[in-house]
C-alpha cells in the first residue's frame, strides 16, 4: 500500500520566525520589551530593535547580566524577551535563570538561537547541545523546541500571552516547512504529524522533518510509523506518550541534543510510568562535535532520516510479537 509522500519544502530558519513574531508582539503589546547581547543580527531581534528603539536594550557581551535585567523588567510588569545564542544564554545565564527567573517566579521569556550542531563551521564552543536539559531542570519553566517557521511563530506568540518563565529553542539553519498555515498549536500538547500503528517516533526541532521522511520511506516497506512533534518538552504531553506507547508498543525518540539528557530521557520517564514498551534513542552521543557544513555535521553525527530508520528497525526487532 503506497501512501502519499509528504511534501517538505525548505522554509526559513526558526530564528527568523522568532524575529517576525517579536515584531508582531511589539505592535500588539507596548509591554513587550527585548534584550540582546551583541548578536541581534543573528538572533533576528534587530527587526524589533529597528521598529521599537525605546523598548530594545542592547546589553553587550554580558549574557548573565542580561538575563537578570530581563527578570527585573519582568518583575516590574514588562513582558521581556532575552535572546542570544542558546549556548551563551543557558551556560552563562544559568544561575540568573535559576534564581531570578525560576525560583524568583517571573514572566521572563528566554530565547536561544543557534541551537544544536546545525550551526556549522563555528564549531562546538557555539553549539548548544545541552540547552534542553538545562532549561528543563528549571522548576516552573516551560520549554519549547519548535520544528519549523510556522510552529515557531505561533508558539512564540503563545509564550508571550502565557504568564510564566519560558525557554524557547531556535535554530540557525533554514528548515523544512512541516505545517500548513492553519495548523493549531497548543503549548504542552504534542502534534501527531503522521498517523501510524507499528511504532512511534517522537521528535522535536530538525528531527521532526527527518522522522517524517523516515516514515515515508518505511511506509513503502510496509511499516506504519507514527510521528509525533513534541514541541513542548516541559510540561511534556503525558497523554500522547502513554497513548503512543500503548497503541504502537515501540518508541524511538530523536533530537538534535545530547542523547543522555534531553527529550529522550523525559519521554522514557513517562513511558516507564504509564505503558512500558521498548524504546530507542537518537541524539548526540557523549561528545562535542566540530566545524563543518551543517549538512556534513548532520550526516556525521547521525541526525538524518536514515538514522531514524535504523533506530526504528532496532526497536521493532526488540518489540514482542
Amino acid at each position: 500500500m503506497a501512501t502519499a509522500k509528504h511534501e517538505l519544502k525548505l522554509g526559513r530558519a526558526t530564528r527568523e520566525a522568532f524575529g517576525d513574531a517579536l515584531v508582531e508582539l511589539g505592535r500588539e503589546n507596548p509591554n513587550v520589551v527585548v534584550c540582546d547581547a551583541d548578536l541581534s543580527k543573528s538572533t533576528y531581534t534587530h527587526l524589533f530593535a529597528k521598529e521599537f528603539k525605546d523598548r530594545f536594550f542592547e546589553c553587550g557581551i554580558a549574557e548573565a547580566n542580561m538575563v537578570a535585567i530581563g527578570a527585573g523588567l519582568a518583575h516590574a510588569g514588562k513582558v521581556p524577551f532575552v535572546s542570544s545564542f542558546s549556548a551563551f544564554l543557558l551556560n552563562k545565564g544559568f544561575e540568573q535563570l535559576r534564581v531570578t527567573a525560576a525560583y524568583g517566579r517571573t514572566n521572563l521569556k528566554a530565547v536561544g538561537t543557534h541551537s544544536g550542531i546545525s550551526i556549522g563551521e563555528d564549531g562546538p564552543s557555539q553549539m548548544s547541545i545541552e540547552d534542553i536539559s538545562l532549561a528543563s531542570s528549571l522548576a516552573g519553566f516551560t520549554v519549547i523546541a519548535p520544528c519549523d517557521e510556522i510552529s515557531m511563530k505561533e508558539l512564540v506568540k503563545q509564550a508571550a500571552h502565557t504568564w510564566g518563565p519560558f525557554f524557547i529553542r531556535a535554530g540557525r539553519a533554514k528548515c523544512a516547512v512541516v505545517y500548513k498555515p492553519d495548523q493549531k498549536f497548543e503549548i504542552g500538547k504534542a502534534i501527531e504529524v503522521v498517523p501510524g500503528t507499528d511504532v512511534t517516533v517522537i521528535a522535536n526541532g530538525l528531527l521532526v522533518t527527518e522522522a517524517v521522511k523516515a516514515s515515508d520511506i518505511l511506509a513503502d516497506e510496509g511499516i506504519s510509523v507514527r510521528v509525533i512533534d513534541m514541541h513542548t518538552v516541559k510540561p511534556i504531553d503525558r497523554e500522547a506518550i502513554a497513548k503512543a506507547a500503548g497503541e504502537t508498543g515501540a518508541i524511538v525518540v530523536a533530537e538534535e541534543h545530547l542523547v543522555d539528557a534531553g527529550l529522550g530521557v523525559r519521554v522514557a520517564q513517562v513511558v516507564g510510568e504509564t505503558n512500558p514498551c521498548v524504546m530507542e534513542f537518537l541524539g548526540i552521543e557523549n561528545t562535542y562535535a566540530e566545524s563543518g557544513t551543517p549538512d556534513d555535521l548532520l550526516d556525521k553525527y547521525g541526525m538524518r532520516a536514515k538514522n531514524v530508520i535504523e533506530k526504528v528497525k532496532a526497536v521493532l526487532a526488540r518489540k514482542k510479537k
Binding site: 534587530h46 557581551i61 563551521e121 557555539q126 566545524s291 563543518g292
Partner: protein, 250 residues
Amino acid sequence: MIYHAKSGHPGGSLSAVETLVTLYFDVMNHRPEQPDWKDRDRFILSKGHAAPVLYAVLAECGYTPKDQLNTLREMGSIYQGHPDMRFIPALEASTGSLGLGLSLALGMGLAAKLDNSPSRTYVMVGDGEIQEGQIWEAAMFGAYHHVDNVCCIVDYNKIQLDGWVKDIMGLEPLADKWRAFGWHVIQPDGHSIAELQAAFAEAAATKIKPTVIIAETVKGKGVSFMENNPKFHGVAPSADEYKKAMEELQ
C-alpha cells in the same frame, strides 16, 4: 583562509596581527619542536573567533602545517572555526565562548609561581569581550593575588559584532578602569611592532602588579574596505574583495 572557507572573522584577525607576530617571534620563550616544554611562555586567544591569525602564526612558527591553512573550518581540518585543543595539542586553551581566557591565564600564572617556573602567560581579549563580567572578576583576582607573570592584551579595535563598541556598551574610561582594578596599564599603537616590543618589555619588568596592554588597533587593518567596517567582523570577502585585499596586503 577565510575566503576559501567562505565564513570566518577577518576584522578581528587583522587587528591582532602585529601583537601575535611580536609575541611569537620576539617576546615569547617557546619551542615549536617541543610544544609541551614545561617552562614555555603561553598564549591564550580568548577572543577565539580570531583563530585565523593564530593559525597563521602557529604555522609560520612550525607548530602546524602551512599547506593546510586553506582547510580552515572544513570538517576534519585541524584549523577549526575556533581554536580547538583536540585538533591542535599545542594550543593552550579551546576558546570561542568569550570572557573565559583571562581567568584561565591567571590560573596558569599561579601554577607557574607555585612551580618556580619563569613561564609567563599572555592572553588576548577583545574590547567587546571585556563587557563580560567574568573579565572584571578575573581582573580583581589578578591584582589581589599579584599574578604579575600574566599580561593581558586588549585588542582595542572599537568594534564588536553588532557595531561600534561605543554604541553598544561603551568602555571608556578604559585605562582608568584597569588602573582602578590594580593593573599596570600600557597603551601602545597595536600596529607598531616597536611600540609593542617596548610594551612587552615593560610588562615583564613590572613586578607585583599584572599588566594590561590596551593596544590601539583598527579592525580590518591593512585592507581599506575592511578597516573600521563593522560588516567585516564575521563575513568572508567575496572573490573580488579577496583579490583586492590580497593586492593591498602585499
